[in-house]
């Protein structure tokens, strides 16, 4: 039976509701259930899942819908579970609460920064209020139009403020992690990136090698598009050029237009400070004017920046040579194609991996011929960005809740033609603290279920984080090693092993 319970004027954010929704199927008697706000796109998701009664198909963004498909009426139990979880505050101590931005501003002596993560359709209006009050903004929201982004950045530039985003999930300001960000050493290296796991990987690498971060500024994924013209990239660059605590500047980007690239290089030539420019997939490394180091991987960016800052870099490995050789020998005995399947939570990490392994299919393929026709079905060697919109429509991002990734992991391991699994574990604030534990349990379960009769699957992981993170990097590595995963602390090192294994087979 299908039941819908409607709660008007009962707004909760999508992540809270998605995380609660993912637990409802565990209630005995529930076939499927979801709790969502009644936006048009959410109604589409509920309709597709067969959870919405026809009379409730009118959009109302302030209406909460509880939709339950069960054999008998257990709606009371489901509603109790939902209400209990809604009443649990995520963070109870040390946080003052306010109903509106104007209210909140009055509660602080000198409010100077805001993290905004509300539905994109409402973001512009709220960000304008903040910029009007001279408050720098990190805008995590997506579904903000390019016109709105341009308008907000023009206001920010005119006022000399930071407007990092939209779709900017990571920054580190004065050593404080904002959004999904790692706890890192403070130091003299300033970073600028579209933001996300690229910035996390480089900042963590620098910190792990003994360097430190002065500031890590995000710009949003579209900032270097011609329409936006790099407004925030150049705002951030000026700030780091003038910051006496920043001696080395690092810029991380996907490939951009020649005009924008040349402008970036020219700006870096104007300063005496040394810099590192990481253009993912650019291919060649080079040094311009003896001070601008162009590299092609996130790890190289971290290493180069640490060296330039005066650190005596020593690289070590978390995996021993014999472990890789043993894995190769076991894979050779498989009677299968030994395809590799990668399931990433970090989009930039997945992108970097695709650039460095030939011929992989993907849902974010650069080469259109390698685009998966159906993202639910892997083909041969396939690398998936599980944080892409398809997987997060109505579901939480895998860095917060990896239920969808774990389901896909089982599907891939079950495939007898699969020999290698690659995944990332991204630590830091904002991320699920139990990612490694959940993966360890799942992998052991899958090994017992499917890896019988001498079938072997090699599990390889990259852990992005530091010892200072709440999860503690070395603890997470150890957890995964208990499931016989080969664990690396940089994405490119994990990918290099994948390449080596594939070439040996």
């Amino acid at each position: 039976m299908l039941k819908n319970i409607l709660r008007p004027n009962c707004y909760y954010d999508s992540v809270t509701l998605m995380v609660i929704s993912s637990t409802l199927k565990n209630i005995k008697g529930v076939n499927n259930a979801s709790v969502m706000m009644g936006t048009e796109s959410n109604l589409g998701v509920l309709n597709n899942a067969g959870l919405l009664l026809p009379e409730n198909n009118t959009p109302d963004p302030n209406l909460m819908l509880i939709c339950i498909d069960s054999n008998v009426d257990i709606s009371e139990e489901v509603v109790n579970v939902i209400d209990t979880k809604l009443n649990e505050k995520v963070v109870t101590n040390g946080v003052i609460r306010a109903k509106t931005i104007n209210n909140a501003i009055e509660r602080l002596d000198n409010p100077n920064f805001a993290v905004v993560s509300i539905p994109g359709v409402h973001a512009k209006k709220e960000v304008e209020k903040l910029l009007k009050n001279n408050i720098h903004v990190m805008l995590f929201s997506d579904n903000v139009t390019m016109d709105e982004e341009l308008e907000l950045k023009q206001i920010a530039v005119d006022k000399g403020l930071l407007m990092m985003g939209p779709d900017c999930g990571t920054s580190i300001i004065n050593g404080v992690p904002m959004g999904f960000a790692n706890m890192v050493n403070r130091g003299n290296i300033g970073l600028i990136a579209a933001s996300g796991t690229g910035l996390q990987e480089v900042s963590a690498t620098i910190s792990n090698l003994g360097g430190g971060i002065s500031q890590a500024l995000g710009t949003g994924g579209r900032d270097l598009k011609d329409k936006i013209g790099g407004l925030m990239t150049f705002q951030a660059l000026e700030a780091l050029k003038n910051d006496p605590d920043t001696n080395i500047i690092v810029i991380i980007s996907k490939p951009t237009s020649k005009v924008i690239y040349d402008h970036v290089i020219n700006k870096l030539k104007e300063t005496d400070k040394k810099s590192v420019v990481c253009i993912l997939g650019a291919g060649e490394t080079q040094v311009i004017d003896d001070k601008i180091h162009v590299v092609a991987t996130l790890y190289e960016a971290g290493v180069e920046a640490a060296k330039l800052s005066g650190v005596d870099v020593e690289t070590t490995s978390t995996v021993e040579e014999h472990q890789v050789e043993t894995a190769i020998e076991k894979l050779k005995k498989n009677k299968s194609s030994n395809y590799v399947r990668a399931l990433y939570s970090g989009g930039t990490l997945c992108y970097e991996a695709i650039l460095n392994v030939d011929g992989v299919y993907s849902n974010i393929a650069v080469n259109k011929e390698l685009a998966l026709p159906n993202v639910e079905e892997s083909i041969k060697d396939t690398f998936i960005d599980m944080g892409e919109d398809y997987f997060t429509s109505g579901k939480p991002h895998p860095m917060i809740d990896q239920s969808v990734r774990l389901e896909r992991l089982e599907k891939e391991v079950k495939d007898p033609d699969v020999g290698i699994i690659l995944f990332d574990v991204v630590l830091g604030y904002g991320s699920n603290y139990k990612t490694a534990e959940e993966l360890k349990s799942k992998i052991i379960d899958l090994q017992n279920k499917y890896l019988i009769d001498n079938r072997y699957v090699l599990f390889v992981a990259t852990v992005c984080g530091t010892e200072l993170d709440p999860q503690v990097k070395s603890k997470q590595i150890k957890i995964l090693q208990e499931a016989e995963v080969l664990v690396y602390d940089s994405n490119i090192k994990a990918v290099e092993t994948i390449n080596r294994v594939l070439k040996s087979l």
Binding site: D60, R97, L108, N110, F113, E126, I173, S214
Partner: protein, 58 residues
């Protein structure tokens, strides 16, 4: 001192507008923070929102 230099040399005082999970770092590091329990104005009704905007512009 410009506003970004000022930010880099100030104690961070932050508004978190939206997902409460982002406040954990502020709590752990004892950063002054206000959690804005944001809800759409006018119940998210676009016609009312447009009317409110017009009034604000007057």
């Amino acid at each position: 001192m410009n506003k970004i230099e000022e930010l880099f040399n100030s104690k961070i005082e932050v508004l978190n507008v939206g997902l409460e999970l982002f406040t954990q770092s502020f709590v752990d590091l004892e950063i002054s923070c206000v959690q804005v329990e944001w809800k759409p104005e006018a119940g998210g009704n676009q016609k009312l929102l447009d009317a409110l905007s017009l009034l604000e512009d007057m």
